[in-house]
Symmetry: C2
Subunit: 522 residues, 2 copies
Amino acid sequence: MTKLIHNLVQNAAGRMVPAQINGQEAIPYQGLGNYRPTGRKAAPPIRSCVDYPQDGDKTVGTIKEALVNAGLRDGMTISSHHHLRNGDFVANAVFAAAAELGVKDLRWVPSASFPVHEPQIAHLESGVIHHIEGSMNGPLGDYCTRGKMRGMAVLRSHGGRYQAIQDGEVHVDIAVIAAPTADPFGNATGDRGPTACGLLGFALADSEYADHVIAVTDNLVPFPCIPWQIQGNNVDQVVVMDSIGDASKIVSGTTQVTKSPDRLLIAELTARFCDEAGIIQDGFSFQAGAGGTALSFALFLRDMMRERGIKARFVRGGSTQYLVDMLEEGLTEYILDGQTFDLEGVRSMRENPGHQNTSPFTSYNWHGKGNFASMLDAVVLGATEVDVNFNANVVTHSDGRLLHGIGGWQNCLASKCTILPIPSFRDRIPVLVDEVTTLCGPGELIDVIVTERGIAINPLRHDLLERLRGSSLPIRTIEEIKGEVEDICGGPAAKPELGEKVVAAIKWVDGTVIDCVRQVGD
Amino acid sequence: MTKLIHNLVQNAAGRMVPAQINGQEAIPYQGLGNYRPTGRKAAPPIRSCVDYPQDGDKTVGTIKEALVNAGLRDGMTISSHHHLRNGDFVANAVFAAAAELGVKDLRWVPSASFPVHEPQIAHLESGVIHHIEGSMNGPLGDYCTRGKMRGMAVLRSHGGRYQAIQDGEVHVDIAVIAAPTADPFGNATGDRGPTACGLLGFALADSEYADHVIAVTDNLVPFPCIPWQIQGNNVDQVVVMDSIGDASKIVSGTTQVTKSPDRLLIAELTARFCDEAGIIQDGFSFQAGAGGTALSFALFLRDMMRERGIKARFVRGGSTQYLVDMLEEGLTEYILDGQTFDLEGVRSMRENPGHQNTSPFTSYNWHGKGNFASMLDAVVLGATEVDVNFNANVVTHSDGRLLHGIGGWQNCLASKCTILPIPSFRDRIPVLVDEVTTLCGPGELIDVIVTERGIAINPLRHDLLERLRGSSLPIRTIEEIKGEVEDICGGPAAKPELGEKVVAAIKWVDGTVIDCVRQVGD
């Protein structure tokens, strides 16, 4: 008999999800738009200028000293942001200092973690860190999937993380903000300095709602640091480190367009679909990521726009040199940027008034007065799996391992036309499946799947089906494409072997639990 | 026997102040830095995107419709900002609509009111408005002083207003934000449009903390309105009016330097004092207002800086063409601007990246993690009266009438050197008095008084007295200057005849009550 290790309940998507997460009640997903929040936002403590230096100099010597001043103790929650990506030195320094101070059972709430953060495994083993809530790209995700973390991981979208902190679902005791440039008062920007990363929007909620905020910089400038993407008025202490990150790993010097013929075909089909669907017209908007296919899609789009003299009102980044080129060429009036993926993005954010710094608050927070994501005419996203009901997975691989974060993916599904350009199989494993291993996005929100074998329009989108009737594009049903792929791959994708233990909860944009991830191996 | 109409208590400044204000407990002033706030900030309701239009279009037809949608009812608090100054059409339109809707007993919390707002007297008379909390320049102040308002007015500094809203001391039900340019989502800016006023910082707290936020514009642009000084994510509804204001009364086309020989002398003495006190050096900072003397001071300073090749790190506005000239000439790296006083200020804010939009949150909020005001090397302010203990008054005239707001004045006293350049008498009434009619700023914070008859340094500033020893400047005691003035004017200033009724409470920057204003006449 299997030991009951979780109290699971079935949610509105038919998924069995934990009723409690790390001892707190969790609300199961209730279907699109059905969960209504109540109550008031989280409220940080009222401070007084009496307790802060009159000359505005909040610098202290070391991270360790800052953590002591902040009152670090067992069981606290520490947050960090991931704009420095795989080049981040700060989060590791924070937990090294916490370990030296002998504290235990910390909850780490990064906006995302990367392979560079592997040293935290030792702190999870030693008890310094209890568990992680935040995307885990790579080794930490693997560690989590193997059931080794004491607590349950919680994965949230960028907007969901803002929502959780805003709503008080996640109370951050100490936020540590890696700041490429800062002044002694704590005003900080990511758009300049030796470790420039562009913007700092993922740290906004932390700066606004944490009880205590520490900015860490390697480029201290005299007050005022302008622009102030993070406001010093929200910062308690400023620490200067020799280097906050490895610049070469923060941004890739160039983000590359795909060279794969299949991916190029997918990108072209996606652009042509947008065209035939009537999306590409003056004043339109779109968002595409920094992957090879998405970049290639943007280039096809750009060529169409150039040819026809069409100008976008705005494009949403992750910015890259390609979006920057479009802005500087006048093909779009604005880039509304959530993160900069390359050095051209950083430069443009610093130089172009039309390259606008945004945040999960402006763009993605579901518990707000609207957000930007639903205004997009088209958004182009990826997925690890898509099922016949258009449900999609972005966090686990076909073997069940949790190796990716959600990013803004769930939030972007709110767009007017959500398109997933994906290969129909990877490593001879079909990407189109009967049921996704992990449900991250409900099929009702995913409008179009574009593969190298054809384009499937969600049957719910009568308007799109109608519009594309008689198109020369290879419009097919998802079942047809799936069948063809299974013939090639020798059958459907094998279901992964999953254990009983729930290692991670997947939150929907409204804070409810849409699915969970089970232990694999060990 | 006088009827006891207020329960008064003596505060730490020796002033008798009301223990309750409009039925709420009030905390008497406890001395500089002695009051410590507790608890957490105000928390607005959690909203959901489900309840806002997916296409981001929050426009509604009229202010009246917006007020109905916002659930306007008797006794609510409505806030507004004063960046449109004496040209504002919006606040009048709001209360006209409220009157039409038949609601009563509203509390109006403007950041300031002007003569243009005189129509609210009719609404005070009819019962639509119960009372006003906010600066009252002109007729409303006069109305209040005559004891005609049903509730007690509350005057707060710009920082104090932010503090009060942030701390939940003032709960705003509906904030109405006049927006010179806005998009349908509610993103708004003051730096462009037919009624451009520069920035919108005085509305920041309202946008962040009110239960419901209405933006009113006469210049609707397609999403995104960039810059977004007010974030659409905080806005519930957008109303388009034909015109939100009279552009000619919003900003004065030119703000004029004084031509009075006495005022010019005062301005020059102030600049020379700053020089001899060692304030004017590379990287310094200062703030001066837009009055004739302050502008003239800035010009003397500018000339000194030019001559010696000295560059300021930042100057704080109220910006004018004079500060803009300094910025564009390279005499300062930044203008940190709280409001734009003329059209050049508006243009510069739009064009110069070094002309930075600030707010009472960044600059003045005492219940924050520090603020900008205390970092200023020198600040030059006005006063209606100063007493021998350097206490100063900025709200009442010598006849006791409440005709001015506090503005940022109290907040600015936190600077490293606070200088009041003032005429020693006005209309043959001495400005230097034994005891100020209304205490707005404690003498401990006022370092220097500069009059046409000499400069008085606060005896508490041993360092300044030491530094100026042997100076060729006319350094005198405040008593000496006062005595000389009284000889000229035929005696000390007469005490105004004040009634029993407290018509207004004067808050200190920490929310405590530093003084109150008594009824005059009627």
